[in-house]
């Protein structure tokens, strides 16, 4: 039905033809958000403003003057993007109740296109984490935990355990956005990606997660984690939709001096049929320690898929991959220490009641406002930035970063068009298992396959590929050349068509679509 449709071909057409109205669409999504509240995907639901936006969109459609493909389309935005008039918390006590006076550029662009902003999604505090489990509003639950596919495969536990405790994580840090898209409460969501935070939850939640090239989309209004690596991420149910959203967001922003000046032309994805001219690289280092045999097999199968279709598939090497975790750790914590310095309780956000002196107020505010993960990274980062350590750590890490980036340059120069890798080491872990290890350990493990693309600023995308033995989504990642999103998405779309990833079967969604439900076999609609 409507909720499960791709934007371009189905829903947009339906809106245009009046078969469904923006208000109906909005109301259905809001209702679904309510009935899937247990997922904890949303921190704030902006019901009133969303309905108002939907009404305005409806007026435009009545007049036959929709603003574009996104007009009337319900979307969700990760809660580390500034939204004027709607709380922006970064899932932290530090910004609880903070209402920003301005919209992030990407939010403004969506609104200018007529999109309907349903609300702000949950994340790890300040986007630090790979599980969406470490925010002050609690963890996000992977919708697939409640899918028929997962329940069928679950071994019933012998002792009477609350079946609720079996739920699996979304991955992170953009888990709320991934869950929102995966559970059909919106058609597209914004996430952010610094070390894999859009692709990782996309893989675990069975949705498309696009990390654009650094500098293509404005970061103005995205509360930064690592300024030199952050990008806004796009989460959708199919590759075509990602291309549509990309088209509405990309381009130079004078407010962000790190966006490139070149004109960006939105594109439609061609239906690739002939891959014989394509050269796909398989980086051997991405066969990382801890990679599940299941995913390894899937990766191999995917490579064969390309080969059998006539593409050239070659093994390549990115020799500095194994240093990326350590390098990332130094650079990330250093920037975090710097970026978090502004949270002192003076101008906005949480301010401690401690007022013996300015310094004691700062210290108390920051201890009360930040969770352990954030505080830990600030301390590490400050250590690396000390005068006596700067050369040894920060500068060294920058040099290693350059080496990592150069690995990609060499490979792309050697005739390879695109790289194919796993996105995650395994399918989504159960929450109780995930929290056995601390955030830092998890992040270090989980980011290994996604980090390097952030170091090199390259575009990368997760495409949902198949279900694991446990009935949970597994995705594969494509990494492309700088600013070659069109090529990247074209290949991703071809692959998506080949694998026909199954649609999630959720009770709640079924109920919402009662009467109009059409059984769909796959999520791709080209």
């Amino acid at each position: 039905t409507r909720l499960k449709e791709g934007l371009r071909s189905q829903v947009s057409a339906a809106l245009k033809e009046g078969r469904v109205t923006p208000t109906e669409l909005c109301q259905r999504c809001l209702a679904l958000i309510k009935s899937t509240k247990f997922l904890n995907a949303y921190i704030t639901v902006a019901e009133e403003t969303a309905l108002k936006q939907a009404e305005e969109s409806e007026e435009r459609y009545k007049k036959g003057q929709p603003l574009g493909v996104l007009d009337g389309i319900p979307v969700a935005v990760k809660d580390n993007f500034n939204t004027a008039g709607i709380e922006t918390t970064c899932a932290s006590n530090m910004l609880r109740g903070y209402v920003s006076p301005y919209n992030a550029t990407v939010v403004q662009k969506l609104l200018d296109q007529g999109a309907v902003l349903l609300g702000k999604t949950n994340l790890d505090e300040f986007a630090m984490g790979s599980g969406s489990t470490d925010g002050v509003f609690g963890p996000v639950r992977n919708p697939w935990s409640y899918s028929r596919q997962y329940k069928e495969k679950s071994v019933p536990k012998p002792h009477s355990e609350d079946k609720e405790s079996n739920w699996v994580i979304t991955g992170g840090s953009s888990g709320g956005s991934a869950a929102a898209v995966s559970s059909f409460t919106c058609f597209a969501a914004l996430g952010s990606d610094t070390g894999g935070s859009t692709r990782n939850p996309a893989a675990h939640c069975g949705v498309v997660g696009l990390k654009p090239t650094y500098g293509l989309i404005s970061r103005h209004g995205l509360i930064p984690l690592v300024n030199s690596m952050d990008v806004p991420g796009i989460l959708t149910r199919c590759v075509d939709d990602a291309a549509v959203v990309l088209g509405s967001l990309a381009g130079h922003d004078p407010k962000d001096s790190t966006t490139i000046q070149d004109d960006f032309k939105p594109f439609e994805l061609p239906n690739l049929t002939d891959v014989s001219k394509l050269s796909v690289g398989i980086p051997k280092e991405y066969h990382a320690p801890g990679l599940s045999s299941e995913i390894l097999a899937l990766w191999s199968k995917a490579a064969d898929l390309f080969k059998n279709a006539g593409a050239k598939v070659v093994e390549v090497s990115l020799p500095h991959t194994r240093y990326s975790i350590v390098c990332y750790h130094v650079l990330c914590t250093a920037e975090v220490a710097s970026n978090m310095a502004r949270f002192d309780g003076l101008e906005y956000g949480h301010r401690s009641g401690m007022n013996e002196s300015t310094e004691s107020m700062y210290a108390a505010t920051r201890r009360e406002g930040f969770n352990e993960v954030v505080r830990g990274r600030i301390l590490s980062g400050n250590y690396f930035l000390l005068k006596q350590n700067y050369e040894k750590y920060f500068v060294k890490a920058q040099k290693v970063r350059r080496l990592i980036a150069n690995d990609f340059v060499k490979v792309f120069r050697s005739g390879v068009d695109i790289l194919l890798t796993p996105t995650t080491l395994s399918d989504a872990a159960p929450y109780l298992e995930f929290i056995q290890e601390d955030n830092r350990t998890r992040s270090a493990q989980d980011d290994i396959l996604t980090q390097a693309a952030n170091m090199a600023g390259l575009p990368a995308i997760n495409v949902p590929t198949a279900l694991s033995e446990r009935g949970l989504p597994v995705g594969l990642q494509f990494i492309g050349r700088s600013f070659q999103e069109k090529q990247l998405l074209t290949v991703a779309k071809w692959f998506e068509k080949q694998v026909q990833f199954p649609m999630i079967q959720l009770e709640e969604v079924k109920r919402q679509d009662n009467g109009v439900f059409q059984h769909q076999k796959s999520a791709s609609f080209s």
Binding site: R219, G221, T258, E335, A341, D344
Partner: protein, 479 residues
């Protein structure tokens, strides 16, 4: 305190002891004269209502990003060129971290690694002894000029145990000019700063008014014996005028000498100048040695400047800064203006200094010269001795002078045409100061100061005088 040569020694405090060489360096912050701030679009204005000129970026709202102000870069390039610096075609921005109420982001954006301009020089002149008769030219090396953000202002209200923060100034563009320790006393430092001030005002890159905080000077002072390594230096802050700059430095030099001669040591500390007491006092140093944890500013790409040679053909000239283009359009610097005045009007070099030192005086002088036949060499005397001293006595600026250049020119013309004597002219001038609107001619007529030109009339008067003094005449004639 006057030193005679670079590194000239100050007379030893106690007899028999080795002389001391004072060493003075300066760190000067000049507020850039621009409509908006260095990285944001909020306005730059002195004395606006508190927190009325604060953009989201200035308040460090999360998610805001810096955008470089072109005008500020141009101001820094102009200043660098005027100070004979090499302009770095590529310079970088860094974050300097510390926590303070007037620094909302918890860091200042500055240029620590590669500033916009380096290795320049500033020439300034001093008079030897207090008469303006002998001037000597000195040079101080400019280490670098860097662009950086100004901080906000915080006011401590001890009565209510609170601190009030005004962010109007936060983010305003500054040029930090670092002068090498080539100076040796307060007078040199004052002269150097005065010259810098004139240069900045001529360029228009900063209004450089110390009283409005547009020019802030910190002095680094140390003393050592000849042949020995430099001594421990102190930093002197809170200096609000050029006059106090000289006082503060000289006080600090003496304090250090006395301390050392009494067997004490100098601490590497920051001291504030107390203008009421005329001395320096240690500032409460809460943080101890600060590690600013410098880090590159990741949101600003390297600043690339071009010259005629490196400018790419298709570049939109609105998007880039061409150093050569700026160089060609630099106005005459004070030193050039002075030379021209000396050459054009035949006045003394020290006169040209005074003319430029007083805002508007050179223009006044030139206007008068244009409107009178009197030789400039003579006009200058009236300008410097009569006009200027009157203005100084009444604390007036040239603009506020009750005697305009037209009126003065009229007066000098009367003198030149020998219609009045110079004594009479001074009398007329004294009347003109009252600013009652009378013309010089009117005053001359009123006070009957006209010179008699008629020969016969003069002879008659003289004869009458002689006739009335027969005895004196008889005594005089034989001799």
């Amino acid at each position: 305190v006057a030193c005679n040569a670079r590194g000239g020694a100050v007379p030893a405090g106690k007899s028999g002891l080795a002389p001391w060489i004072p060493v003075v360096g300066l760190e000067i912050h000049a507020q850039i004269s621009s409509n908006s701030k260095l990285f944001s679009g909020s306005q730059v204005q002195f004395a606006a209502p508190p927190n009325s000129l604060v953009s989201f970026f200035d308040a460090s709202l999360p998610g805001t990003l810096p955008v470089l102000n072109r005008r500020c870069v141009e101001a820094a390039v102009m200043t660098g060129l005027a100070l004979n610096c090499s302009i770095n075609k590529k310079s970088l921005f860094d974050r300097k971290h510390y926590f303070y109420a007037d620094l909302p982001a918890g860091y200042q954006i500055t240029q620590q690694r590669v500033p916009i301009a380096v290795n320049g020089s500033l020439s300034y002149s001093l008079c030897i002894d207090n008469k303006m008769s002998q001037m000597v030219t000195k040079t101080v090396r400019i280490k670098q000029i860097q662009l950086e953000q100004d901080s906000g202002k915080s006011l401590h209200d001890d009565a209510r145990s609170q601190t009030l923060v005004d962010l109007n100034r936060a983010g305003v563009g500054l040029m930090e000019v670092v002068m090498e320790p080539d100076m040796c006393c307060g007078e040199e430092a004052a002269a150097a700063v005065r010259e810098l001030q004139l240069i900045l005002q001529t360029l228009g890159s900063s209004q450089a008014v110390m009283a409005e905080g547009q020019l802030r000077v910190d002095a680094n002072v140390s003393v050592h014996h000849p042949g020995e390594p430099y001594g421990v230096r102190t930093e002197v802050k809170n200096i609000n005028s050029i006059r106090f700059l000289a006082k503060a430095i000289d006080y600090e030099i003496h304090r250090q000498i006395e301390e050392l001669e009494n067997g004490g040591t100098i601490l590497n500390e920051t001291r504030a100048f107390d203008s009421k007491l005329g001395c320096t006092v240690p500032m409460r140093d809460k943080e101890g040695k600060q590690d600013y944890r410098f880090m590159p500013e990741p949101n600003l790409p390297p600043l690339i400047l071009y010259d005629a040679k490196s400018l790419p053909a298709n570049m939109n000239h609105q998007q880039v800064i061409n150093i050569d283009w700026i160089h060609e359009r630099l106005p005459d610097l004070p030193s050039v203006k002075r030379e021209k005045l000396v050459e054009q009007y035949g006045i003394l070099p020290e006169h040209s200094f005074t003319l430029l030192n007083e805002d508007g005086l050179a223009g006044f002088f030139e206007s008068v010269v244009k409107q009178t036949q009197m030789k400039p060499k003579k006009v200058i005397g009236w300008i410097l001795n009569d006009l200027l001293s009157y203005l100084k006595q009444h604390s007036l600026t040239v603009k506020e002078s009750p005697v305009s250049c037209f009126v003065l020119a009229d007066l000098l013309n009367l003198l030149e045409k020998k219609e009045i004597s110079s004594t009479a002219a001074k009398q007329v001038l004294a009347e003109l100061w009252k600013g009652e609107g009378k013309t010089p001619l009117e005053i001359v007529k009123e006070q009957k100061l006209e010179l008699l030109q008629d020969q016969k009339e003069l002879e008659q008067i003289c004869q009458a005088v002689i006739d009335g003094q027969e005895n004196e005449v008889i005594i005089m004639v034989p001799g």
